[in-house]
Symmetry: C2
Subunit: 200 residues, 2 copies
């Protein structure tokens, strides 16, 4: 890896941390240059515009998420164990050993983009979120074909419900500082699994 690629990668890592804490709006070239001990113009040269910087940091965050959450979870056995493992890693990604300092990168970004005008950055985030919802639904489908879950359960509904638990967890834990947030999230997930599991 050449010197340029190296700094570029380091810059994007720091940028992802900043965005996770302050949102895309809080990512400023001057601030980023300070943190990296680079001049504004020197840093700017790596990305020809701010939009490309934002695009690159979204890409970096998506890679990070795949690396830390998705790929390991897909090694778990199909069905319920995989669903459990994925959920556990999602929790740790939001707050914990897998997390960026500001919590889930996409939770920070999604809220500020939901009413933004269309554009490359928004489109990329929406694409990532849709892909992720599909992934959760597909993990659930492996549980259907393994006979772990009720055949009439809707994978898309499951993905919607899991997303809700995670968002509420992020909200309670980060903003409200509720010490019982993790317990509530795990309780909610157990209740969800219970509801979609085959009757015994």
């Amino acid at each position: 890896m050449s010197k340029g690629e190296e700094t570029r990668a380091a810059v994007l890592d720091e940028a992802a941390r900043i965005v996770s804490a302050t949102g895309l709006g809080g990512l400023t070239i001057g601030l980023l240059a300070d943190r990296m001990q680079l001049s504004k113009s020197g840093l700017f040269a790596h990305f020809k515009s701010k939009e490309q910087l934002q695009l690159a940091v979204v890409e970096r965050a998506a890679d990070l998420y795949t690396e830390r959450v998705v790929r390991p979870a897909l090694k778990a056995p199909r069905g319920e164990p995989r669903a459990r493992d994925l959920f556990d890693r999602q929790l740790r990604w939001a707050t914990g050993d897998l997390a960026l300092p500001g919590g889930c990168f996409f939770a920070s970004v999604a809220a500020e983009l939901d009413d933004a005008p269309p554009g490359p950055v928004r489109d990329r985030v929406v694409g990532a979120e849709r892909d992720h919802a599909d992934l959760v639904a597909n993990v659930f489908r492996t549980g259907l074909s393994e006979g772990h879950f009720r055949p009439d359960a809707d994978p898309e509904q499951y993905a919607f419900d899991v997303k809700g638990i995670l968002l509420s967890y992020h909200h309670s834990g980060r903003l409200l500082a509720d010490p019982k947030a993790e317990d509530k999230a795990r309780t909610a997930f157990e209740a969800l699994l219970q509801a979609v599991s085959v009757v015994e």
Copy 2:
């Protein structure tokens, strides 16, 4: 109401709309002055600082929410009917006839404040969110004392679950433009009610 109070109120209404769409970070004095056809300095004179403007708009949004969602819902009969009515109005507040143009004011603000340094604005938002979580839990408690819900159900857990449904609804509907978002939210709520209702 004097002329000054009138302008101030109109400014705060417009500010609440802006914040609901773009977050507190998108609320700028110049933009607000343009929208109101006022000069920057003329508008600024109503609030001695930007922080006081932010504080005032949060206050205004909280009043609006109480007016449109909480107070009407509390007129419904105690217990399950009140819980249903409250949830329905919450959905309409997030997207619908009760909503600001950018969706739920607090959904926009909460995400960008979750890792912000403490301060009057953040404190006020956290207070409002805590009060609201308590309100939802208390509505659930009326259902407990009416015998509608299982005595072993946890009101705080219920509030956590409802918040998750609403956040996921906001996310799916606004960002991902999922046409089935409302169906999923209502399905999730019915399942939640089912789970906490007394067995028959």
